[in-house]
């Protein structure tokens, strides 16, 4: 009688169909010679079948609504309709993020030439300043020429404030925003519904190359950003992606036209 290889572990694995073919053959042989073992295996198989019969009943039950809801991603773009309060909350959240070391991380990423950190900072700056009712900008649109000259001087290259009246946005003004290494210019726009949008511009290190329009959604703020001729642009707003893209196209077109035109003599 050969009962050498039939360890208890092997018998369980055999019953569960988890034994290698070679060892299963050994059990087959043992079963033929050992009625006691054969009965044991049969009982275990019957137990498996009974358990499946019993617990398969649960599978057939209708799924409760709350569980179907829990299978949906928890962050639908629900915060999109931007209120100033939401923007302020987003700003506060981002400040915490930065406090926890986002700045250090962003600086590292930036050296690798990834512009995503720019989008995050742009969303942060937008959330912070767009929610400021009284002082969203340092220089108001009434002094647009002074604003553009000042930002051009601080950034070290010619900047332009696009005219977004064709899409219903008027220039509110602009400000300088601290960047990682280089300052960023921020132009704030507002529509008739007091919805604000900001365009941020900064110099990127040479060799960053150009990028396609990219979209990021950071804490309730949508951002389209792109790099063109070593300048990074980020258009941020609490509007839906399609609307933001439409405006981004207008901005891009205007900036391209301004680049083609001779530089205004006012910049000094």
């Amino acid at each position: 009688m050969k009962r050498v290889e039939t360890s208890e572990a092997d018998v369980h694995a055999y019953v569960d169909g988890r034994l290698s073919a070679a060892r299963a053959a050994g059990i087959d042989e043992a079963l033929a010679n050992d009625p006691e073992l054969a009965a044991q295996v049969a009982a275990m198989r019957a137990q498996n079948a009974a358990l499946r019969d019993a617990f398969d009943l649960v599978l057939a039950e209708p799924i409760p609504e709350r569980l179907l809801a829990a299978a949906v991603p928890p962050h639908p773009r629900a915060q999109r309709s931007g209120s100033l309060l939401q923007a302020a909350i987003a700003a506060a959240t981002l400040i915490v993020g930065i406090g926890l070391g986002w700045f250090a991380r962003d600086a590292l990423i930036e050296h690798e030439g990834t512009p995503t950190s720019f989008a995050r900072q742009a969303a942060f700056a937008h959330a912070l300043y767009a929610s400021d009712i009284n002082r969203p900008v340092e220089i108001w649109a009434a002094e647009e020429k002074r604003l553009v000259n000042w930002l051009t001087k601080r950034l070290g290259f010619q900047v332009h404030a696009p005219d977004l009246s064709s899409v219903g946005y008027a220039l509110v003004g602009g400000r300088l925003v601290a960047g990682n290494e280089k300052p960023t210019a921020l132009f704030m726009y507002e529509n008739a519904d007091k919805q604000r949008m900001s365009l941020q511009v900064r110099k990127h290190p040479p060799g960053t190359g150009e990028t396609a329009f990219r979209y990021a959604h950071e804490n309730g703020v949508g951002v389209f950003y792109w790099i063109d001729d070593a300048c990074g642009y980020a258009l941020s707003g609490n509007v839906d992606r399609g609307q933001l893209l439409k405006i981004a196209h207008v901005v891009y077109g205007q900036l391209a036209a301004a680049e083609a035109a001779p530089p205004p003599s006012a910049a000094k």
């Binding site: 019993a54 649960v58 928890p74």
Partner: protein
């Protein structure tokens, strides 16, 4: 101008997630032994899954991944309950109020199935769990070891004890009603 590219969050495959719910409910039912507590556990598991979605490797077995999360959520919740009241035991207590029939009795048309379920409640949660994963879900022992974070040898010894205990319990029902196989 090239069309914008999206860099949205990596998600979990939602159809697969929904498809996994019945099995999660069954596992939860075997753990908690009670329908509404089980569904609470499933809900917590799904929420945790979304939190940890970056940890899921695309293409890997979503069910096994969710089972792992469920096991951990359950163990953590149990530890919390135990801390709050020192005398809570889930192990092999026939009067354990936590364990009820996992399905309504009138759904069960075979007396041995009904009995088997009652006897399952007398096993420890550890043993019930291994039995479910091996015999009902038919997972490989290595997968079970991964889900429960225990060595394969422990899976096998638990499985062996669970089967023997269950067989004995079924063979000697307290009611005196014998099940003839």
């Amino acid at each position: 101008m090239t069309p914008p590219t999206s860099n949205d969050d990596p998600g979990l495959p939602q159809p697969d997630l929904v498809a996994a719910i019945p099995r999660l409910r069954r596992y939860a039912r075997v753990l908690t032994g009670e329908a509404s507590r089980a569904d609470d556990l499933v809900q917590d598991t799904l929420a945790r899954g979304w939190e940890k979605r970056r940890m899921w490797r695309t293409g890997s077995d979503l069910r096994a991944w969710l089972f792992t999360i469920m096991h951990n959520v359950y163990v953590n919740q149990l530890a919390l309950v135990r801390r709050e009241s020192a005398n809570v035991s889930i192990d092999a207590d026939p009067t354990n109020p936590a364990w009820q029939l996992p399905v309504r009795a009138n759904q069960i048309d075979r007396v041995e199935v009904l009995e088997l379920m009652q006897q399952m409640g007398r096993l420890s949660a550890d043993q019930r769990e291994v039995l479910l994963l091996a015999a009902v879900e038919e997972l490989r022992y290595e997968e079970i070891a991964g889900i429960l974070s225990i060595p394969v040898g422990t899976v096998m010894s638990r499985l062996s004890r669970a089967r023997n205990n269950l067989r004995q319990l079924v063979a000697e029902p307290p009611s005196g009603l014998r099940v003839v196989k």
